[in-house]
Amino acid sequence: MATEIFMPKLGLTMTEGTIDSWKKNVGDTVQKGEIILSVETDKLTNDVEADTDGVLLKILVPEGETVPCKTVIGWIGAAGEAVPDAGAPAPAAAPETPAAAASAPAPAAAAPAARAEGEYVLATPYAKKLAKEKGFDLARIPATGYKGVVVARDVEGFVPSAASTAAEAVKASPLAAKVAADLGIDLKEVKAAHGRILAEDLLRYISETREKAEAGADAAEREEVKPMSGMRKAIAKNMLNSHMTSPTVTFNLGIDMTEMKRYREQLKAKEIKVSYTDLLVKFVAKALTEFPLLNCSVEDNKIIYKHYVNMGVAVALDNGLVVPNITDADKKSLTEISAEVKELAKLAREGKLPPEKLSGGTFTITNLGMYGIESFSPIINQPEVAILGVNTMEDKVVVRNGEICIRPIMNLSLTADHRVVDGSVAAQFLQRVKSLMENPALILA
């Protein structure tokens, strides 16, 4: 009996995953526990193990393809065994089907929308008509019909997943939809000037694509089109979402790091090696316990105060970045924090961060100091309400007690969500961070 390989759901918020790479070819023998593929989600890349012994019979979803969680992506079974039709297995992923509930006494088991790229989608003519009208991609619609065919109720009950909503549920005027259908234009390619796609948007698209085509082969050589990786798509989505969600203000404040440097040297003398990031995590977490408005999140018209500090630390990777968080950073010792930061960074670079480390943060620190950056305006990691950018530490000429002197100064750039964090609150918080860092002994107070 062949066994399905599902797109795993790695963490609560994961809705879809991209096949990063198949580690086995069709026909290869696999053993239970052996890694057979890696999956890229919006946050990380995970290895997926075989949960049975056998032969990789079929790969349904090729590398680079994104499918919803719990979609059948392949089959493992005995060598030569036939793979059941798409209609055979019935995972729980199928959406509720109102039509089925209303009239069909015994609908066939729901088949997942597990189709290889280019695979012909078995669908009734009426289902196709409905999908076309609604702008749905048939290939994504799970089938509940006879013989695993997509029927009308599947289309009617289909809710495009969040990630694909923007791409799939193209809103267009009837005229634009008709013209696009007639000309064979994919509406997903067309940008709407005002919300939904109108005929004029279509005309603009047609003239633009014509210009592009006329630009000739040169352009093709000078440019290259590549699909975004799962992580890139996730970053793009998250950043855009944050930008559109939070009205932000960025506050800059220079901190005299003289005492902090000394404090770090003292620890080092005691064989306790910590980075400035570790120190920042510790000191900012302390400040956050005193300024709950910077450690909250906003949902509708409600403010959710967190009585814990999960400190996110942005980790740059070759192909993007991830923000694992240190849970309960306010309750952890500096050495604990230091060790955890190191471990998380290592896991992040290996793409092996456990999903739970990637969600649930309450505040984020992002450090660009190593690149000599003096000031920037970081974007909030939603649903948090503030993020602290860390800049380079430089010796600067300052005046202390009426005398000119040279001190190590580091700028902090705090971006805060003005929906809940007013300027004075942000300023007071930054001031508190400054005072803590300039007087490290206060950490014990």
Binding site: S103, P105, A106, T124, P125, K128, K129, G145, Y146, V151
Partner: protein, 324 residues
Amino acid sequence: MRKITFSEATREAMAEEMEKYPEVFVMGEDLARQGGIFGQFKGLPAEFPGRVIDTPISETFIVGGGVGAALGGARPVVDMHFADFIGVCMDEVLNQMAKVRYMFGGQAKIPLVLRAPDGLAGGGAAQHSQSVESFFIHIPGIKVVAPSNPYDAKMVLKAAIECDDPVLYFENKVLYKEAAEVPEKEDEVPYEIGKARVEREGKDVTIISYSIGMKNARAAADALAKDGVSAEVIDLITLSPWDKETVLNSVRKTHRLCLVSECVKQGGAMAEVAATVAEEALEYLDAPILRYGAPFTPIPFAPTLEKLYRVYPEDLVKGIKGIL
């Protein structure tokens, strides 16, 4: 309302039309002395002396003579004894009855009705049980009707006799004995040849049949209703020229189609309906078209085998559930 049998209903129709039109007469085998082999002409010979004519066993004359009598100014009804025997006089149907109007540029009217008792009657076997209507829907120039109940039997026959085109009237042998309510003459609603009837409205599947096949359609719809499936039932009544619009409208509403008839499924009248729906309303279909009919064999004699030849409501129910 009074209840009469299908057979009585056809007799009433004949009597009323013979009363109304002196040029109406009926001829065929065993009509005058016996009242028809199924008793469907009983009483008419006495009521209309000289206008119920027993012919020799001469099918080409019965039909060809009917065509000639129509050309000569009469309004004949001819009886085929058993529908199976139309094979004997196929030329008279195919090349004479169906063609004379068109090929003579509309000079001729052929107000002729060919009555043909058909269907499985239990032991009639290969040459006395067939439903042969499907041959004739392939022939332009004739109309083909097949009522499913006493009231329609009467109204469709009256319409056929009054029709100036040749009409093949298929009457099922088993239905003859079935009784149902038929209004008195003054409350009758005339039937218009070419119209189907939505006998029962539904939303999940359209079941279409005619003649005795309607028993399967109705029984299946009843069974499905118990399981919460709402079937629309259409009685086609006229097989040629048939009521495309009523069928297409229903399929556009229910998105599923189940066709049933007693005749051989291959090349049957329902194949035309299926093909037309596929041609003209494919995009409204949410399931494959189901089609039930007899297997591709001559009709066997032994009851155990004849049983296998029939279609049953359970077949429809099972099939329909499989496409919901």
